[in-house]
Symmetry: C2
Subunit: 535 residues, 2 copies
Amino acid sequence: MSAATRLRRLDERARIIVLERGADVSFANCGLPYHVGGVIEQREALVLQTPAALGARFGLDVRVRTEAIAIDTAARTVTARDLATGEEERIAYDALVLSPGASPKRPDLPGAERGLVLRDLADTDAIIEAARDARTAVIAGGGYIGLELAENLHAAGLAVTIVQSGPQLLGSLDIEMAHPLAQRARERGLDVRLSQRLAAIEPTEVVLADGERLPADLVVLAVGVEPESALAVAAGLAVDARGGIVVDAFQRTSDPAVWAVGDAVAKPVLDGEDALVPLAGLANRHGRLAADAIAGVAHPAAPALGTAVIGFLGLTAATVGRTERALRAEGRAIRVIHTHPMDHAGYYPGATMLSLKLILDAETDAILGAQAVGENGAEKRIDVIATAMAGGITGRGLADLELAYAPQYGSAKDPINLLGYVDDNLLDGELSVQWHELERRRAEGWRIVDVRTAAEHEAGSIEGAELMPLDELRTRAERLRGERVIVHCKVGQRGHTATRLLQQYGVIAANLDGGWLTWQAGRAATADAVPNKED
Amino acid sequence: MSAATRLRRLDERARIIVLERGADVSFANCGLPYHVGGVIEQREALVLQTPAALGARFGLDVRVRTEAIAIDTAARTVTARDLATGEEERIAYDALVLSPGASPKRPDLPGAERGLVLRDLADTDAIIEAARDARTAVIAGGGYIGLELAENLHAAGLAVTIVQSGPQLLGSLDIEMAHPLAQRARERGLDVRLSQRLAAIEPTEVVLADGERLPADLVVLAVGVEPESALAVAAGLAVDARGGIVVDAFQRTSDPAVWAVGDAVAKPVLDGEDALVPLAGLANRHGRLAADAIAGVAHPAAPALGTAVIGFLGLTAATVGRTERALRAEGRAIRVIHTHPMDHAGYYPGATMLSLKLILDAETDAILGAQAVGENGAEKRIDVIATAMAGGITGRGLADLELAYAPQYGSAKDPINLLGYVDDNLLDGELSVQWHELERRRAEGWRIVDVRTAAEHEAGSIEGAELMPLDELRTRAERLRGERVIVHCKVGQRGHTATRLLQQYGVIAANLDGGWLTWQAGRAATADAVPNKED
């Protein structure tokens, strides 16, 4: 619809026909889970525009319950079938825009047909209907839709289990950053099974891959989507290995009269290979750009960053760009930073802790990705970093950003500036160690020093860490001269001061990045990811 | 303190002495107004670091109640006076950092000495003490500190009047953007007097310039600050016309062994002349950069953008860069955009309306400034635009930003993207008219057409505007061929569609930027700015 309405604004004379297989155009996809939980009470709120209203305002011929079933690219015609009458019509086009979207994957397992999926309003109705008499729900899949549905079915009073085949929830985060989501889910009484799969769906229960049975009056399959590119393939248009329709920067497919946009399209990704990136913002943007190209005022699309956010049981998790996991798998030289700042000035009431992660190219200092999790302010920081990435601002450059500060909104040194400062320190030669590197370093003979207070140390510490509180370190530094020492505090800030201090006393000192909090999250997440553990 | 602690981390051997005239170092300046209103209950919360704790951790010689009274740049000595004993000491330095800050201006009027000011903890104590038995307060000054104090004294139960010499509150906004603040203040029962001054302060009342008397048990002077550069001037350091200490990009003054940072310093401003820009973020940043320069790892400061935010009676107003007012006064060719989007998807509960303004270089499309006012999400959008400015992203480039979207956080087309789209339309030749240009255009013979619904039109409309609802416009467009028409809707979006449509029918059509809402705010603000109006 964004292509159709934009094209009308550019060209009042064009004849514009919209074919839609379903009953609705322009509905609020991203709101569907929240209608299940009653957050969005009225179903009508999800219907953003009726076909009739859109048609009237923009002079469009909108045909719902009408499926495009074939494209003849040579003749430039589309065959449309009226799904009510079965009648077929060949429609000639000068320009064709494909926006078929992606459909939920349905895993190949016994009873898979019993699983519900969530794509459109009819699916939403079905889940609400099924939830009415259900007491237990199993959600297969811990991605965006899986988590949103888990939250909403829980809110609707069901006992919810999330079964996730991967070792963590939300694969767009790294494992230590995703850990708070599983932790929060369990605190709120949801059951989370990681590294686990459904083996079968039976009428009132599911069977897991390890044989365990879980009661399940309702099963939702939210294990990802696949592009609906069969029509494009049949028309001879180029698609990639995952079925994504291949387009150029102007959304043009391999046929010069056919454009494609949205979740069915393979998108160029900043600093990575083309990928599907099924996000609403990109779909909207590319719809407009396709119309621009058709009308002769073409602008190229920017490479996708994959900026995304989810609200989950009071937490916000947001992400942009690539993960440490993916980049390390590619063998990229990267620099990683974790911080745990308050979302606004600690002296102003209501401040909560954020966990931030920044991933940089080790050579160029280019920002490759970032992740943020917390009660408040996570999405703001990711939006800022996404903008910095688009503007080519480096990690060190984040220190220079001038962000709005009053105590209820941020800090004089915003968490974003702090990331830049940490990067600046690392670029100036300060050493740091990632949580997953600690044991290897220990095996290589590095000592581990806890520079927190005695009280903090006693409340929980890394095995074998020696306590040397920061405020006493100056008097003890001389004795560590020549040694290799990993220092750590709670979040990394005192550790930074300690590292600087020790370096100047001839100690080979490295700061545990993100401190005790990141180390602990990483360790807990790793343990959590082991299937069939006894607990 | 950011210079001192950074320098210690860079150089463990340096002897670092901190001289502070007051009793506190590193206190929460920006939190002071909120202690007056009881939002920050405990006074201790405002003392971020004690001199002793900072001294111990960073090996600093911190001397409070000790004033630097003279600098001998030739001998490289500072004379320090112990304010308790009167004893003086000459201290030699290799590098000297000045961070004297700015002091509240005290207008020259009878009784001015009765006015309280707010700069430090002692001032805060004095205001709280005075407010204890007071029923009425007059705040002279409607800038950041004036408004924050007004809110907090109101919260403390006082009847508050804001007396502002300028035609609007918050001069860092343009007048139509500032209008909601005055409106909100009046809705909440505060009295706001614009284009008005204090003539005298008497024991329990104030006299205004027009002779009116207002009861005032408590008077606060918050009419701006001036740099405390007397010491620098006496030492022969260069200062600018407003008294700001002149520094280079590395914070170095005209003397090579003296650096200066903070509110006393004139800062290079992006796209403007050097200015004071008394903001905490810049002070912090420049403190660190001064230490870097002293330690031999100099990084230049970025030009200041003046990003700022205020919370005021439930509204957030945020700003970055230059105002339309200032740029027009300089004769700059600019393009201005107003929008009124929802802060998050309208179908998700709790969405509220934002007012956004974007100011662009008419030729280069560079972003020169932006302003945002609303209940939620204003500071996020300004942070994103500040980052875009730092990254050299143009107005049109805002359309390409990939910002985090889920319905509780934003929209698939974020308000930021929407600004980019509007700019894109204007760059492609669409015409727009600013609220303050409407009457001139009307006088030139342009017709004004309201494309809203009949119901909206009847509820309030621009005098002389002809009603032609958008959905009927296509049938009436032919009759307007060749005419000059300003179309308007509520916020500018239907107006855009109408403008495009009419253009294609041969009408010379321009869209009223920001629609009825911006026009109305501008008109009301203009009327409000006229002093001594009868109402």
